[in-house]
């Protein structure tokens, strides 16, 4: 039997369920679960999968077997074992790698990134956050906010997650105490003032007992909000709402099936486009109009962020992989250097001046770390002096590229502002980068001012001083002996030489500081010039 025919017959038979809006077509919410070790992340996901009835009988049977073998719940079902898939994880009872889980309810489809709590796996946690619309941040009600909670909140915020479900877990172990719940929520709000969250929804839960997961629990009558699953079904995430951004399209592949067709296959990173709209190809700066939006299902009237399409243009302009087609009226910056936050993901340290491969959108180029301005302590959120960057550390740095890149601030667009650095010898992904173009940076990245020499510049000067000491002494000797030759007393000559040797480097240091600031200001105005000039 040829099934294609069977399907066609079925399709032509009215009433076809395929003709009406499909129950299978849902909105999608991606979220990440994070929190400290043993806060019960994997248990929570297992519980949600179980409550959403997405665990099959044979999986339950395997879970029962595994729970008796590896379980941490005295033989009772250990939901964590549903998601900890690697042998090493099961043996150690911890989550090492990010695991993706999938479930649906009547209203929504969900993709869950279950991420490790241990600090050594921070990069895996950041990976999960990079595509998330929302974060479930777990807190053990007995322990309250831990250093790992702060670290995860910071990384989730840095990676652009604006909505947080604050799940205060293990409420069963604090007798479902409203006072304890409120205490933790208040502490979290205090901490989150320094972060960039839009909504924080606190929930008292017990993943183990199932309280406030699928439905409101009778054991927390004082709780006025929604249970977790209904909350996730109904929440409108800030990210999903962003719809009126200027058009950005990364060209992945030039589509040339024959001499008569030349299309640009790529990804709509932001905004929307219709045939007839004017675009600029960057970095060339050539303008044209969109002629067709081509797909195998026929041409589209419009394409929006999150779609993969092929565009043909009215004019034969040159564009290739890595170029970006953008709205003619609102152009992003094209810059050969950029300031960015780096999350270091390699075991080997990064030193300023080191050169890497950068991948941003569909563009690959070479990048040099021109400067590390300062590190950020992810526990205190405070700036820390610049030094070589180690695994899981975060720093604000300036990168120089060997060709102009199309960059956007990460907070505006993850596709134009997020990049990776690759070690050209080991091929390892050594850093996540987030372009940071804001003129009014946050507290921990206060712009350097001329009056107060800020930590990054002092660090820079320290590095430069030893190199300038030799020449300074030499010039001091020269000045001193020159003065003696001109008839001054040897003592005066000595004094002059000494004064020169000491003062000149200091003056040079101040000058270097001044020059650095001027160079930064120039770089900033260059970026501004780039904006709109399209070059």
């Amino acid at each position: 039997m040829a099934c294609a025919f069977a399907e066609k017959e079925f399709l032509s038979d009215a009433p076809s369920p395929l003709a009406t809006p499909r129950a299978s077509e849902k909105a999608l919410l991606r979220f990440i679960t994070c929190g400290s070790v043993d806060d019960g992340k994997s248990t929570l996901i297992g519980r949600m999968l179980y409550d959403a009835q997405t665990i099959a009988e044979d999986q339950l049977a395997a879970l029962d077997r595994d729970s008796k073998k590896f379980g941490t719940q005295n033989g009772a079902l250990d939901f964590a074992l549903l998601v900890d898939g690697l042998a090493a994880e099961r043996e150690q009872g911890i989550t090492i790698d990010v695991a993706y889980r999938y479930f649906r309810t009547d209203k929504r489809a969900f993709i869950v990134a279950d991420t490790p709590g241990h600090e050594q796996y921070t990069r895996n946690m950041a990976t999960g956050a990079s595509t998330a619309d929302l974060a479930i941040l777990l807190i053990d009600a007995r322990k309250g906010i831990l250093p790992q909670t702060r670290r995860h909140a910071f990384i989730v915020s840095m990676l652009g997650v604006r909505d947080v479900a604050l799940a205060i877990n293990k409420m069963d172990l604090v007798d479902y105490s409203e006072a304890r719940f409120n205490e933790i929520v208040t502490a979290f709000h205090d901490m989150a003032r320094e972060l960039d969250f839009q909504t924080i929804a606190p929930l008292p839960i017990s993943a183990l007992e199932g309280d406030n997961i699928a439905a409101l629990s009778e054991r927390t009558p004082w709780f006025q909000g929604e249970a977790l699953l209904p909350f996730l079904e109904n929440v409108e995430s800030a990210r999903a709402q962003a719809g009126d951004e200027p058009f950005r399209f990364t060209v992945q592949w030039v589509n040339r099936p024959n001499p008569d067709f030349r299309g640009f296959s790529g990804w709509v990173a932001a905004g929307a486009i219709r045939p007839g709209d004017e675009i600029v190809s960057l970095p060339s700066g050539k303008t044209s109009r969109v002629k067709r939006i081509v797909t195998q299902d026929g041409d589209l009237d419009a394409a929006v962020a999150g779609q993969s399409v092929t565009l043909t243009l009215a004019d034969e302009i040159d564009a290739s992989r890595g170029d970006v087609l953008v709205a003619a009226q609102q152009r992003p910056d094209v810059a050969s250097q950029a300031r960015a936050r780096l999350l270091w993901t390699a075991e080997t340290d990064m030193h300023p001046g080191a050169s890497y491969i950068v991948k941003l959108g569909a563009r690959t180029a070479n990048a040099t770390v021109a400067d590390i301005h300062h590190l950020t302590d992810i526990h205190t959120f405070e700036p820390a002096p610049a030094r070589p960057l180690g695994l899981n550390e975060i720093a604000l740095a300036t990168l120089r590229f060997d060709r102009p890149l199309i960059v956007g601030d990460y907070r505006d667009n993850r596709d134009l502002g997020g990049f990776i650095l690759i070690d050209r010898i080991t091929n390892e992904t050594v850093a996540f980068g987030l372009i940071d173009q804001r003129q009014t940076p946050q507290k921990e990245e206060a712009a350097p001012s001329e009056e107060t020499a800020p930590p990054p510049d002092r660090a820079l000067l320290r590095r430069r001083l030893p190199a300038s000491l030799g020449p300074a002494l030499f010039s001091g000797v020269c000045v001193g002996s020159g003065a003696i030759l001109l008839g001054a007393s040897p003592a005066t000559g000595l004094l002059l030489g000494l004064a020169d040797a000491v003062l000149r480097p200091l003056a040079r240091g101040v000058y270097a500081n001044h020059r650095l600031n001027r160079a930064r200001a120039a770089a900033r105005s260059e970026e501004r010039l780039g904006d709109g000039a399209g070059i």
């Binding site: 040829a2 099934c3 294609a4 069977a6 399907e7 066609k8 395929l18 299978s24 077509e25 909105a27 999608l28 099959a56 009988e57 044979d58 395997a62 595994d66 998601v83 900890d84 898939g85 690697l86 790698d97 990010v98 695991a99 993706y100 889980r101 999938y102 649906r104 993709i111 895996n124 595509t131 719809g243 009126d244 992945q252 592949w253 589509n255 040339r256 990804w267 929307a272 081509v294 797909t295 195998q296 026929g298 589209l300 009237d301 419009a302 929006v304 999150g306 779609q307 993969s308 092929t310 491969i357 991948k359 569909a362 596709d415 997020g418 990049f419 990776i420 050209r424 091929n427 992904t429």
Partner: protein, 315 residues
């Protein structure tokens, strides 16, 4: 996929389109296909004829339209696939005008490795895993698309979209590269290769919904009809040809069955069903409380067995 204008609505001059989850999954898969075509030298699509391969092939066509996918299809034939799968494979490749490469591990054939006498583990290793490695080496492919999904199995849930394999095709779960955003590090050394999984974020339900929505052709083995089956070791095995010898006491019954996954027929258990249309199958799947890999006899050697097979080079 149908144009999004159905869901489009005008609002104060701004275009607001809410993409459905299937549209998002489709767009992300297409993005992955294009990244490979642009960054890898010699990709190939591993075509294993089942429903996931059907969706994979469909997405590959969409990704490059109006061009044809710039890579061939490769089927590693264990010589124990359902006969209908082979017919279907050849017909589809012909209809789509795509180059189809078929590889059989002749060493295994010579040694008479087969699922009945050699056991599922040895058969799978020799005919599937070693066969796949032979084929990849023979043609020098540096990227192979596969239809694996993270929801299938726990160790797959941890695998990257771009899964780096050593010169010996081994997977090392401990040195996987992080994949933030949509950025894939496609750098590799000579001899290394990638297994690429565009369906990573799809679920079994997504695959079926998409097949229905896009009217994608799949082998009729997925649809229920009376078939000759033997009850053996708790599974319903279809006797697809004479090579399956009956054990004492066994007899061939004609039972209405279908298959949730397709593989080597002696290793693929059927489920009793009368679901003969896509809506019936989808309804049955929704009601089902058994996972699709239940019918796969090779997966039951222990919870971590898939991880081990993958480390050895299995897809």
């Amino acid at each position: 996929m149908s144009p999004p204008r159905n869901e489009a609505r005008e609002r104060t001059g701004e275009l607001m389109i809410q993409l459905t989850h299937l549209q998002k999954l489709e767009a992300e898969s297409i993005h992955i296909f294009r990244e490979v075509a642009a960054e890898c030298e010699k990709p190939v699509l591993l075509y294993s004829i089942g429903k996931d391969s059907a969706v994979l092939l469909h997405l590959a066509q969409k990704a490059f339209f109006p061009s044809r996918p710039p890579f061939p299809l490769l089927h590693v034939d264990t010589t124990w696939k359902f006969r209908e799968m082979i017919e279907f494979r050849d017909r589809r490749a012909g209809e789509l005008g795509l180059e189809l490469l078929v590889h059989v591990n002749e060493d295994g054939v010579k040694a008479d490795v087969n699922p009945f006498d050699s056991g599922s583990r040895l058969h799978t290793d020799v005919m599937k895993t070693q066969g796949l490695k032979q084929a990849l080496d023979k043609y020098g492919f540096d990227a192979a698309f596969g239809g694996a999904r993270r929801d299938e199995e726990k160790s797959r849930a941890k695998e990257r979209v771009f899964s780096l394999r050593s010169r010996e095709h081994r997977w090392d779960p401990k040195t996987q590269r992080p994949e933030p955003w949509r950025l894939y590090n496609t750098r590799k050394r000579a001899g290394e290769s990638f297994r690429v999984f565009p369906l990573s974020n799809w679920t079994e339900a997504d695959v079926w919904d998409y097949i229905a929505k896009e009217n994608i052709a799949i082998p009729s083995l997925y649809f229920a009809k009376p078939r000759p089956v033997v009850r053996r070791d708790g599974a319903l095995i279809m006797r697809d040809d004479e090579r399956m010898k009956l054990r004492p006491g066994e007899q061939v019954e004609h039972v209405s069955v279908r298959f949730r996954t397709l593989g080597c027929y002696p290793l693929t258990g059927a489920v009793e069903s009368t679901a003969a249309t896509l809506p019936d199958i989808i309804a049955e799947m929704r009601a089902s409380r058994v996972s699709e890999r239940e019918g796969r006899i090779i997966d039951h050697d222990g919870s971590a067995s898939m991880e081990q097979k993958k480390q050895e080079g299995y897809f």
